[in-house]
């Protein structure tokens, strides 16, 4: 049975950064991921990463932009930690090999991004996430003797000891089907977001909210789950993302009449207002009949106004995306886009060392909610979040582990999970197909929990989620094998997504105001008097079928009192 000081579940940016930090702090480390680490969805991040690197900039300005972007729901102490530590983190990345693009003097170049009062986004063309992820993996290869990698292992549950501490997890070796108990003094979840509960989404097929659900099932609280980011520029043709970097480089948004409609809702920042603001403006154009395309369901993103050599150098990936996936040469004609599900602001509630409600259990990255993003995440703040809190979790977990003995863990959970998997494989073909339920969930969440929401729609959405939860209990699969049985993992992932969806709809129904990405047509204003707090969700009781229970948690305000938000 593998036993480590620090066990990390997930090998995207947050997980890999945590692993390296824990190893540097002297801990024995295991990192486990259901896909090869470089396939993690961090690889898709395009535009860049924020830090006040410019001598004329100040981290406080970055922090204020983040607070304002969050619609004052972000915790300001955590935001201060993130923004003040950002420049050193970027320098660290530069030192270990990230090929950040430079300006004419050979220093780091910075590009403009949404919601920022200054150019402060460091980047590698438009493959920033890929570049950082691959460089971290280079380091993991370098650390082979100190970090054990379990690649293509699927985590099925967390284990709590008699004293309530998290003492490890159960995972399945996808290649062989073998189940294994992992013992650990501390465990860090870094499993990413839950985009796949929506269809379409910019997230990969692996983003199924596993860690949020596992922590929730183990008794931790989730927070800010109603806050789902819709990105303003996803390709209408297929839902793929066009990075905000495009607008950062100067691209325009236009409606069917050719008007730059952002002038109405963000006359100063125009296309570079916060994402929630831009997405709402677009949806409004579309809803009011000024959309383009055969279904009038899009607006136009015009990249042709950006100099072509700059596009080829800095936005090459979206040239390829346009050409290969939509048949459009974006250097010659505008491309139809619309708001699409992109990011989960909420997640496992943690403090700024990454610790959750459960002793010994940490969370970092998109799975976590510190909360630095509050009601709306700024572009290029998420990569920063994964790295800062990944590192902090790794360091803190290693420190805690250094002063405690290795716990002893029974394999009761392992046997439970084995039984569960066997029962899924053995189910008669009388219920619905797992893939069918997943499809209905995605379409429903996207209909009822999107850019604009109301009581009636969300109530319907909630009923559907409850029904799908029932149907999932008898849903069947085809694959009976043990080697790479992706089918049975799909059934488990469906369960995770349903847990998260319930938390999302329930919180969204509860919050009777409009704040950040949560915009209600029946409560159109932000209401600080009644709603300036986080909503939390936890399981009401220990048994498997227990309902979700809502709670509250205060918002931490240090130096910025809530103000009206204009761009």
């Amino acid at each position: 049975m593998p036993a480590h000081d620090v066990l990390i579940i997930g090998a995207g940016l947050a997980g890999q950064r945590a692993a390296l930090a824990a190893a540097d702090a002297g801990a024995s480390v295991a990192i486990l991921s259901k896909v090869h680490p470089v396939r993690s969805h961090s690889v898709a991040a395009a535009g860049g990463i924020n830090a006040a690197m410019n001598p004329a900039d100040d981290w406080r300005s970055h922090a204020f932009d983040t607070v304002k972007g969050s619609d004052y729901l972000g915790d300001q102490d955590a935001i201060e930690v993130m923004c003040s530590e950002a420049p050193n983190e970027i320098l660290h990345l530069e030192h270990i090999g990230v090929t950040f693009h430079r300006n004419e003097t050979g220093h780091l170049d910075l590009r403009a991004f949404g919601g920022a009062s200054m150019k402060r986004t460091a980047y590698v063309a438009d493959i920033t996430g890929q570049a950082i992820l691959h460089v971290l993996y280079e380091q993991l290869m370098k650390y082979s003797d100190r970090v054990d990698r379990y690649e293509e292992w699927f985590n099925t549950s967390l284990i709590r000891g008699d004293d309530g501490r998290c003492v490890g997890c159960v995972a399945r070796n996808i290649r062989t089907g073998e189940m294994q108990t992992f013992t650990a003094k501390t465990t860090i979840l870094a499993t990413g977001g839950v985009g796949q509960a929506f269809k379409p989404t910019t997230n990969g097929l692996i983003c199924t909210g596993d860690g949020m659900s596992l922590a929730y099932r183990a008794g931790a609280r989730l927070m800010d789950m109603e806050m789902i980011q819709y990105h303003p520029t996803t390709m209408t043709a297929n839902g793929f993302l066009i990075t905000e970097g495009a607008r950062g480089e100067g691209a325009h948004l236009r409606n069917a009449d050719g008007e730059r409609f952002m002038v109405h809702s963000a006359p100063n920042k125009m296309e570079l207002a916060s994402r929630d603001v831009v997405s709402r403006a677009e949806q409004k154009e579309i809803n009011e009949g000024r959309g383009t395309g055969p279904l009038k369901d899009s607006v136009l993103l015009d990249v042709t106004v950006v100099p072509k050599n700059r596009v080829l150098e800095a936005l090459r990936e979206i040239v390829n995306l346009g050409r290969d996936f939509a048949g459009i040469d974006i250097t010659k004609e505008p491309i139809p886009v619309r708001p699409g599900q992109h990011y989960t602001m909420g997640g496992v509630k943690t403090d700024s060392d990454g610790e959750s409600d459960i002793p010994g259990l940490y969370a970092a990255g998109e799975v976590a909610c510190v909360s630095v993003h509050g009601g709306n995440r700024l572009g290029a703040n998420s990569l920063l979040d994964t790295l800062i809190f990944g590192r902090r979790s790794g360091e803190h977990a290693a420190k805690v582990a250094a002063s405690m003995p290795m716990p002893t863990v029974s394999d009761a959970s392992l046997r439970d999970d084995e039984r569960e998997i066997k029962s899924i494989i053995d189910r008669p073909r009388t219920g619905r197909r797992v893939s069918e339920i997943k499809e209905e969930l995605g379409v429903s969440m996207n209909r009822y929990c999107a850019v604009f929401r109301d009581e009636e729609g969300m109530t319907k959405g909630h009923e559907i989620v409850k029904r799908l939860q029932e149907e999932a209990k008898t849903a069947y699969i085809d694959d009976q094998g043990t080697v790479f049985n992706q089918d049975v993992l799909g059934a488990l992932e469906l369960g995770f997504m349903l847990d998260c969806s319930e938390a999302i709809v329930k919180s969204a129904l509860e919050r009777k105001e409009s704040r950040g990405a949560h915009s209600r047509t029946d409560y159109t204003e932000r209401n600080d008097e009644d709603w300036l707090f986080h909503l939390t969700v936890e399981k009401d009781g220990a048994d498997a079928g227990a309902d979700a229970k809502l709670g509250q948690s205060p918002v931490t305000i240090t130096q910025w009192q809530p103000m009206e938000r204009t761009y």
Binding site: R39, H95, V124, I127, P267, P307
Partner: protein
């Protein structure tokens, strides 16, 4: 493909409806004890959708046991490397209609990548081959110590330049069809050598010489590539591994004067000199020249060892006894000499890079585009005062 064609494709697919396609998937279940077999699935999708979308439809609706790695669906995670109608690539990056066009029997055949063991269906063991080879090239930055207090100051172009090899998503498509690797499984291979350029092209790395020497001396290293171009054709990200390999060789020989014991460098210089002298390859002189000239003792040994090759060349009329003795000069020899002179006089080698220039750049088009950008900027500038006023008022 010209852009108008692309645009038409995009536009026409919007009005076209669904189309039926037959996917012919290579199945292999290691637990069944049975050999691999092919199974057909009929799917219905818009023709511009990807082969991966097709496979996922079959998996979701008909048979959940179909094994394929995939996540992003957008050619960025590198999971879905497969062979489609005998060509390696990404399933999510290949349109159904394109794949059909390349098919001989009206079906789209999808198989696992080559040169790697198959685990199940379309899933291969990347660890056993691809990742092992990556580990071979010391794949992390080795900067000089101590590190600078702030970032390294490096030329702007250098970081744009290495972006082409950084763009590799480790999908293994190039490894699948590498000819050298087929013959020599120990060959370091296209992806790992492209990765090497990512460090050798990076001015922050302090071990260029050691990296190059290490790979030049390795009989399965820098000079084991046979220039078959398969990796360039296979790569979905424009990394062009073979071009990176050639750049590594140029840097090794011209900048670091590395002479390898496999005679790769001399062989390359022999080619260069032959073309300079004759305008074509003088095959008869290649072996002695590669091994240090006809009088070098090693060259006699190499000639003997290469007898089968020479005989084959004679048989295939690649080398006639007459041309071997009196190698004819190319009629344009003056031109060729001039090219050599000009390139030789350049202070810097010019290397083609995807992120810096585009192959099909048309000057007229660039000028037109620049005019368009300038006009847009002028329009914006004219509109600006109004915008600002609204801003101040809000």
């Amino acid at each position: 493909m010209s852009s108008t064609e692309t645009t038409n494709d995009g536009a026409s697919t919007k009005v076209e409806g669904l189309q039926e396609f037959t996917l012919r998937l290579r199945r292999y279940d290691p637990e069944s004890g049975k050999p691999a077999y092919y199974e057909e699935f009929t799917i219905e999708l818009e023709p511009h959708r990807s082969v991966l979308d097709g496979i996922l439809q079959a998996k979701n609706d008909e048979d959940g046991s179909i094994g394929i790695r995939c996540s992003c669906r957008a050619a960025i995670c590198g999971s879905c490397g497969t062979r489609i109608n005998d060509k390696p690539g990404l399933a999510c990056h290949t349109h159904l209609d394109e794949a059909l066009k390349r098919s001989k029997d009206g079906k789209i055949t999808v198989e696992p990548l080559g040169n790697m063991p198959v685990i199940k269906d379309l899933i291969v063991d990347m660890d056993a081959v691809h990742w092992k080879k990556q580990a071979r090239v010391t794949p992390w930055l080795l900067p000089s110590e101590p590190l600078p207090e702030r970032e390294h100051i490096v030329p702007r172009e250098a970081m744009v330049d290495v972006t082409q090899s950084m763009a590799c998503i480790q999908c293994g498509a190039c490894v699948s069809d590498c000819l050298s690797m087929e013959i020599d499984p120990l060959f370091v291979g296209p992806a790992a050598l492209a990765k090497t350029y990512r460090f050798v092209g990076d001015p922050r790395d302090a071990r260029h010489q050691q990296r190059l020497n290490d790979l030049a001396q390795d009989p399965h290293g820098l000079y084991a590539c046979t220039h078959c171009f398969n990796c360039i054709e296979a790569c979905p990200k424009g990394v062009a591994p073979m071009s990176q390999i050639m750049r590594l060789r140029r840097i090794a020989s011209q900048d670091h004067h590395i002479v390898d014991r496999n005679n790769g460098e001399r062989h390359e210089m022999a080619i260069v000199n032959s073309v300079k002298k004759y305008g074509t390859l003088n095959e008869a002189n290649m072996i002695p020249d590669s091994y240090g000239g006809k009088l070098h003792p090693a060259s006699a040994r190499a000639m003997l060892a290469s007898l089968p090759v020479i005989t084959k060349a004679l048989l295939r009329r690649k080398v006639t006894p007459k041309s071997a003795l009196f190698h004819p000069k190319s009629p344009d020899q003056a031109q060729i000499k001039r090219i050599y002179r000009e390139v030789g006089e350049r202070e810097q080698r010019l290397e083609h890079n995807l992120y810096i220039t585009q192959p099909d750049e048309d000057p007229a088009e660039i000028a037109a585009h620049e005019a368009h950008v300038a006009a847009a900027a002028a329009r914006e500038a004219a509109a600006k005062p109004g915008v600002d006023q609204t801003g101040a008022g809000a």
